[in-house]
Every structure is written in structure tokens, then in C-alpha cells.
């Protein structure tokens, strides 16, 4: 279930009473409903599932995930990371 793909919000507008956005997926544009992510801003990335944004991606946490793992390779050791 849940084919959700990260896309970049490039435009925000209202359509028939709903908050909508133009979302870009590597050069593909599609309209998506952003009613469920009211805090979304242009430039944010969101997970889009069936034309709806269900969650905003946290750039900070995305980097954190990757950085932790890069440290593993560098150091050869991994602290039991503090997954919340």
C-alpha cells in the first residue's frame, strides 16, 4: 500500500475551496491537494500519495539519517543511534 513519492511544491493556490499545489517530481508536474499539510510552503518537499500530500519531508532529519550512516562507513563503528 502507499505508493508515496517525494515531490517539490512549486506553486500554491486555492481551487474550489481546497488548498492545492503544483508539485514537481524530477521534471514531472502534477497538481496535488495540500489540505492535510497546511503549513506547507513553496520549496518544501512532500510525500504525495494519490494526488494528496500526506506529510512534509524534514530536510534536517533526512540529512541526519544519511549523515549517521556515512559516519558508519568512515569510522567503521556505529553507536546505537538514538532513534526517537
Amino acid at each position: 500500500m502507499c505508493l508515496g513519492v517525494p515531490g517539490k511544491i512549486i506553486e500554491i493556490y486555492e481551487k474550489q475551496g481546497l488548498q492545492m499545489a503544483q508539485v514537481d517530481f524530477s521534471g514531472v508536474r502534477r497538481e496535488a491537494c495540500i489540505e492535510h499539510v497546511p503549513e506547507a510552503k513553496i520549496g518544501d518537499y512532500a510525500i504525495i500519495h494519490v494526488g494528496f500530500a500526506i506529510s512534509l519531508l524534514s530536510e534536517e532529519e533526512a540529512q541526519e539519517t544519511l549523515e549517521l550512516l556515512r559516519q558508519v562507513i568512515a569510522a567503521g563503528e556505529m553507536e546505537d543511534e538514538d532513534l526517537p
Binding site: M1, C2, L3, V5, G7, F25, S26, G27, V28, R29, R30, E31, I48, H49, V50, G51
Partner: protein, 372 residues
């Protein structure tokens, strides 16, 4: 009658299936088994995948048996005289909408058949074209389509020397259907065909995959996405001339239309009785095709191409052929994407970016977007 099925390695407890006369056969509502549609034509029968292959085998091959047909190549090849063969191919074009970014039904009709004839190594010479026009079609649209056909024919260097026109009632032809037949000649010493792939051969593709299918899907508008993508529809006969000029060891040529690269390579693997291993990291795919496929749940390997070819070439000539492709107008993004091995015979495999290997099957039926 009790029937014990085999146990798995990790689970010693046998599972029993109780078979009685009332046991339904294993098709239909027993489980949510998609029906095998053998009584009525479905759209899936036209999508280039296994449903279509089965239809062709069950309905057509079984009644129209002859060697050139059963060889299963893009064109039928027969010997005319000592040393000279005729290649002939036919194709119908029912694309909707009639015009899309990068092309239209007219260009498709010419290029599709030019390409099919060229894929057996023949030089395409003449086309015929038959039109089924829907009552109510704006004649200006027809004019545009025929203009486009004229341009495509000129580019390919072929002439359309005979034709036919029929009109059907409003609602019966999606505007316009075109069927084209093409003939070409080839030296009988040329042996290019689906059954000629050999272990050790390299598999090349002439450029990025999936462009046409996604461009048409976009033009249809039902899924609501927009890209800058264009269909890649193009005549490939000059590209083929260029590569045949540098190598006498091109074993297979095929254009991966409906069903995509995955289906075409599966066919070749089966026809030649070899295994083909693709390298995921080498597949050339435009970012927008990747984006559209991720969004809709598609795999670019199954999406149609109308201006690309696959070439299976002996290993010593692969580099030369690649260079020649890249110099040619429609081969600039050509790449080596895989190789042929003896095993597993009849199968297409993919070495994933992570280094694991998996099977790539043919397209089953209709390509549908998924939410799962």
C-alpha cells in the same frame, strides 16, 4: 482424496489441501484470481504483453502456420531470387490522442513500419497506407496527419505508393486509424533475427527508454501530469545502415514498442534459448520518465518506445557499434545495457544497483497505475 503439499525448509508442518469432486478449478473466484480472458478481447490483448502473445499464438499462429510468420521477427522475410530476400511488415496505428508532444499518428504510422522492416536488416523501400476515417473528423486534421506522413517518409527515404480510404460512422474510429505495410530488400546472407543471439554477445540500446509511452500518457490527460517530454518517434533505418556498415556481427535488432525493453528482450531470450542479463546502472532513462514512473508506479522497462532499438552484437564489435550509434542522429545516447549468457535459457535477468539479481518478466496485460 487428501493431498499433502510439500513442506518448506523452515516449516516441517505439512499443509493439507483437501481435493474433492467439488473442488473448483483454480481459476476464478477461488481466490481473487484475475480471470484469464480467453473468450472476449480485452484492452490488455493489445498492450504488447503476454496476453497479446498468447492471443497471437492461440488464434493466429495456429491457423496461419508458415515459417516466416512463426519466426516471430518484426518483419516476414522470404527469398525472392538467389541472393535476394524480400522483407514485409504491417502495423496498425490507433493511438489516442492523434497528436502528442514530439509526434502524431501519421509519423508513427510511417516510422513504425519503416522500423519493423529495418529490424531484420532490410532496406525499407515502399509503404502502403490505409486509412479508416471517422465520420465528423475535421479534414484539416487529416491534412496535418498526411503532411506529417509525407515528411516522415521523406526523412526515411521511402515512398508511399499505394493506399486506401474508408469511412466509418461517428463514434467508431477514435477520429482516425491508419494501417501501413512496408516492403524492403535484403541480401540473403544477412542473418539478423530474434533467434540469433549468442552467449557472450552484448546488448545495446540506442537511447533513453520510456519516452514515448509517457509522452502519450501525458497527452491523454487522464492522469493529470505534465512534462517537457517528447515522444521519440523516429525512423531508424539510417541508424541501422550506419551500424551495419561497421559490423557484420549484429545478431539481433528489435524495436521495443508496446511492452517495452523488458518484453522485447524476453522474446529474444526465448527465441534464442539464451539468458540475458541487464545492468540496472546502465539503463539510460530521462529524469522525467523516472519521475512519472515513480509517481504512477510504473517501471520504465515496460514502457513503449517508438524511436529506439535494441541491438545484440558480438562482443568484439560492441564498442564499434556503440560509437557508430552515437554518431548517428537518433543514437546519441546509446549505451551498452547488458549481455547474453547461456543460462538461464529463455530468461531475462536484471542485476540491480545493489548487486542482487532478479528476474524481469514480460508485461502481463494492461499497464495500470497503482496505489500500492
Amino acid at each position: 482424496m487428501r493431498h499433502i503439499i510439500a513442506t518448506g525448509l523452515k516449516h516441517p508442518t505439512p499443509v493439507e489441501l483437501i481435493m474433492t469432486e467439488k473442488t473448483p478449478d483454480l481459476q476464478g473466484p477461488v481466490c481473487p484470481v484475475p480471470k484469464k480472458h480467453t473468450e472476449t478481447i480485452m484492452l490488455g490483448h493489445g498492450s504488447g504483453g503476454k496476453m497479446m502473445a498468447d492471443l497471437i499464438k492461440d488464434v493466429f499462429y495456429s491457423r496461419l502456420e508458415n515459417e516466416p510468420l512463426l519466426a516471430g521477427n518484426d518483419a516476414g522475410v522470404v527469398e525472392l531470387t538467389d541472393g535476394l530476400c524480400l522483407a514485409i511488415s504491417t502495423d496498425a496505428h490507433v493511438v489516442s490522442p492523434l497528436f502528442f508532444s514530439g509526434g502524431d499518428i501519421g509519423r508513427l504510422a510511417v516510422c513504425g513500419t519503416v522500423n519493423d522492416v529495418s529490424m531484420v536488416g532490410a532496406v525499407p523501400l515502399y509503404l502502403t497506407a490505409s486509412f479508416i476515417l471517422e465520420e465528423g473528423l475535421d479534414i484539416k486534421i487529416l491534412e496535418k496527419v498526411v503532411e506529417s506522413m509525407s515528411k516522415a517518409a521523406e526523412e526515411a527515404g521511402v515512398d508511399i505508393i499505394s493506399g486506401d480510404t474508408k469511412v466509418v460512422a461517428h463514434g467508431e474510429a477514435d477520429g482516425l486509424y491508419i494501417s501501413t505495410t512496408g516492403v524492403g530488400l535484403l541480401d540473403s546472407r544477412i542473418e539478423i533475427g530474434g533467434s540469433k543471439a549468442k552467449p557472450g554477445d552484448k546488448v545495446l540500446v540506442s537511447g533513453t527508454i520510456g519516452d514515448h509511452g509517457i509522452a502519450v500518457l501525458e497527452a491523454r490527460g487522464e492522469l493529470g501530469f505534465k512534462t517537457q517530454l517528447e515522444s521519440d518517434v523516429a525512423p531508424l533505418n539510417h541508424l541501422i545502415e550506419d551500424i551495419m556498415a561497421v559490423s557484420k556481427n549484429i545478431h539481433v535488432l528489435r524495436d521495443p514498442t508496446r511492452g517495452g525493453v523488458a518484453t522485447a528482450l524476453n522474446e529474444i531470450a526465448r527465441q534464442s534459448g539464451v539468458g540475458i542479463i541487464l545492468d540496472e546502472n546502465s539503463l539510460p532513462v530521462k529524469p522525467a520518465v523516472v519521475g512519472a514512473c515513480e509517481m504512477l508506479g510504473f517501471d520504465p522497462l515496460y514502457i513503449a518506445n517508438e524511436g529506439k532499438l535494441l541491438a545484440v552484437v558480438s562482443p568484439e564489435d560492441a564498442d564499434m557499434v556503440l560509437v557508430a550509434m552515437r554518431k548517428s542522429q537518433y543514437g546519441q545516447e546509446a549505451a551498452v545495457i547488458g549481455q547474453v549468457e547461456a543460462e538461464p535459457a529463455g530468461r531475462l535477468l536484471l542485476k540491480t544497483a545493489l548487486g542482487a539479481t532478479r528476474i524481469i518478466d514480460v508485461l502481463a496485460g494492461e499497464l495500470l497505475p497503482r496505489i500500492c
